[in-house]
């Protein structure tokens, strides 16, 4: 392992642990661990002249467990299975309404700013988890790399402001809060809301999965209607 890789790993772990402490002591959208850690790491990397290419080997090692970590969401899902089953109808209709509204508003806003159709297609997939987003983007004529960035930004925004916005919009029901985060901010939103409660985390994880399936099924015919 090179010195830069070792430094990158120690830096990332250290900043993440510090960010978690700060998030507890000074709760605010700006101290959301995923945002604060990312910003601080970019700052240090740029300051010490390390490029993203040099950081990549460390990234590969550290994200090795992202897949298993997503699989692990089955545990809160299993623990809360009765509530989920009971509320299947409100959840399903909520997810459909939210998914269609997010897609339509993303496409229309892109058109309002006179950006390209490629940008619109890339923005349409931004609420779902990356592997699905890049596939669907390719099908509807978007740019997979641009989609991956939009997915990241949407997730980050959801994690930072989602819980706060939901409270402001008087969505206080823990079930609906989790559903909303998973549907619009995929894994990053789920990672944030799981710390609010096991039910929220379970619903969010399930919603992330359903939103991915829903989006990949409806977008190929829904997107041409919006253009």
């Amino acid at each position: 392992m090179s010195v830069v890789t070792l430094f990158s790993i120690v830096l990332t772990l250290g900043i993440y642990m510090l960010a978690r402490v700060l998030a507890v002591r000074f709760p605010s959208p700006l101290t959301t661990p995923v945002f604060l850690s990312t910003a601080a790491i970019i700052f240090v990397l740029v300051g010490s002249g390390i490029s993203y290419e040099e950081y990549t080997p460390a990234k590969e090692m550290m994200t090795y467990l992202l897949g298993p970590a997503t699989v692990a969401l089955a545990v809160p899902l299993y623990r809360n299975r009765y509530v989920l089953w009971q509320k299947a109808v409100p959840a399903f209709l909520g997810m459909i309404a939210g998914t269609l509204a997010t897609i339509a508003s993303a496409v229309w806003l892109t058109k309002a700013f006179h950006l390209t159709t490629t940008t619109a297609a890339s923005a349409a997939v931004k609420s779902v988890t990356t592997p699905v987003a890049i596939e669907v983007a390719r099908i509807i004529g978007g740019d997979p790399a641009l989609s991956a960035i939009f997915v990241m930004v949407a997730g980050m925004f959801g994690a930072m402001f989602g819980p706060w916005l939901l409270t402001a919009m008087k969505v206080t029901d823990p079930f609906s809060r989790g559903l909303s985060m998973g549907t619009t901010a995929h894994g990053i939103g789920t990672a944030q809301i799981v710390n609010e409660g096991s039910l929220q985390g379970a619903v969010s994880g399930a919603a992330m999965g359903f939103a991915a399936i829903l989006t990949s099924v409806i977008l190929p015919w829904f997107f041409p209607l919006l253009k």
Binding site: Y52, A74, L115, R177
Partner: protein, 134 residues
């Protein structure tokens, strides 16, 4: 020591299920990514009592708690897109944030409204049944 080994074994087991999800997703070209498919597989294994919850619980709860961590190194990749940010950052922010807010409001709002109605209806039915039994 024994706890540590158990913990590693649980992570290993979750990793295996993830690989299974990946394999199925890729070989059948499913619209579901491998990680989500893995989550569904583990959920089914738990529901049908094939896997006991305490086989995976410790490792899973640890990963749940630190799920954010795994997104950090990926998000650091945003550092390579500063030119895009300068070019059309404001427009993109309005598009991405605006549509996210609309989606959040509708998902949460519709679900909360329908859940409340469902609860009320169930209460109504309970009261009705009680009247009958009297």
């Amino acid at each position: 020591m024994r706890n540590g080994c158990l913990f590693i074994a649980q992570l290993g087991f979750l990793w295996l299920i993830y690989q299974l999800g990946q394999l199925l997703s890729e070989s059948f070209h499913l619209p579901v990514p491998g990680n989500v498919l893995g989550m569904i597989i583990l959920f089914l294994l738990l529901s049908f009592n094939i896997v006991k919850i305490n086989w995976v619980e410790k490792g899973a709860l640890f990963l749940n708690k630190h799920l954010s961590f795994f997104f950090v190194p990926i998000a650091v990749g945003l550092m390579t897109y500063t030119s895009l940010l300068k070019e059309s950052g404001l427009a993109l922010a309005v598009i991405l944030f605006g549509s996210s807010i609309i989606g959040m409001a509708l998902t949460g709002g519709v679900s909360q409204f329908l859940s409340a109605r469902q609860i009320q209806r169930e209460k109504g039915e309970d009261a009705g049944e009680r009247r009958h039994s009297i």
